[in-house]
Subunit: 212 residues, 2 copies
DNA sequence: CCAAAAGTGTTTTCGATACACCCATGG
DNA sequence: CCATGGGTGTATCGAAAACACTTTTGG
């Protein structure tokens, strides 16, 4: 039941590009800097990626490549841009759909095939991978500017405003005013009623994410 | 010189999707509303699109489809999103890369194969075309919120602040305060020194776009 | 009591808005 | 001189920032 187009030709009569996905997996180690997962391929560092398989969506392909190459599951990929340079890949005609996939640090601990590297001072990568990383960081910063934790990077099930504050500073890459930050975020959080324990100073209230 | 991958298979050994581009061409008739160009296909209205050909970038394909289907040249397409639903096209496995392509009304006058329709109250279209239109309008609004005329929708070579104001109100879809708008935009415009003539009231100064 | 961190009240600043007014032209 | 639209001074409002202060715990 092959359908024909207006010139009487089937879709498969035309040459088609290979379609790849490349993903900037961003994470923030507790007390650390914004970091990205890089894999080794052909001798240099690059972002994890794969070719799109038949019967698969782009998000499926991103999930598969991260499960295979880094043992990461349960991610929420966001499309960034299609790179379509005709000679960007010497293996042939390849479109690459860049993605952002933020992931909580605790999901990474078990499998150490890959190490997160701070995005500041990252070496040059092949293809468009440095450009993809820049887009990914910009997108992450934009999404975290207004909301507490749109990608679930915080520890579950509860967290303090200090933890949220440190996460936001790592994402933004610069200090954020303490009191203004609290006043912006607190209305968007659900207090659990419990307090953090075992710390110096006044115990912080613990919160839950309000919007999933 | 076919390259082999890590499993010793060439790129063309894998099934590949067809890749299409679909474009929301947005325009604003003088004194009119934000409008989109729709073409007729299979009995209903849809956005112009085509399949990506070999040796062609996405922007090339957008330009070709608009030249062929609507006689429009010299556009500046912006990527919006890749639609990758597995059953979105019953002709087979098709990815569609949605684009926005704003165009000045005066570029359309000559060829009337297509008519711009106001985006408010547009009929349902097949595929994801209504969704593409929504993305396109949102993107256009975001880009016009801060800058005078990022896509060159204004008459060349000069325009008045009133014309700019009316364009922005059409794009935004709601009235914008007159004095605040002027104060925001004027520093970003280059005065030509000449004045608009043949109108009632004080003649307006004419401006040129500052950033291309 | 002291250090450290949580949490809050208050002032300042800055930009956007609203509103009023003045200016320049055609009829 | 009046209607019309261009252009500008100024008060007001609100959000964000800065700063200082109070509160609550562990040691």
């Amino acid at each position: 039941m092959t359908k024909r187009d207006s010139q009487g030709r089937a879709l498969t009569d035309y040459p088609r590009p290979s379609v790849a996905v490349d993903t900037a997996v961003l994470t923030v180690p507790p007390g650390g800097q914004l970091s990205v997962i890089a894999v080794t391929g052909d001798g240099d560092l690059r972002l994890p990626g794969t070719f799109l398989h038949e019967g698969e969506t782009l998000a499926d392909a991103v999930a598969r490549s991260l499960a295979e190459k880094a043992g990461i599951t349960g991610i929420l990929p966001v499309q960034l841009h299609v790179f379509d340079g005709l000679d960007r890949d010497d293996r042939g005609w390849v479109l690459s759909v860049a993605h952002l996939a933020p992931v909580r640090m605790s999901r990474l601990a078990a499998d150490a095939r890959t190490t997160p590297l701070p995005v500041a001072a990252l070496p040059p990568m092949p293809f468009d991978h440095n450009e993809i990383l820049e887009l990914a960081v910009a997108e992450l910063r934009a999404r975290y500017a207004e909301h507490p934790d749109p990608f679930g990077l915080l520890p579950e099930p509860t967290f303090t405003i200090r933890e949220l504050h440190e996460l936001h500073e790592a994402v933004a890459g610069h200090p954020l005013p303490r009191d203004t930050f609290r006043r912006l975020m607190e209305p968007q959080l659900e207090p659990t009623g419990s307090l953090a324990r075992g710390t110096v100073g006044k115990p912080a209230r613990e919160f839950r994410r309000l919007v999933a």
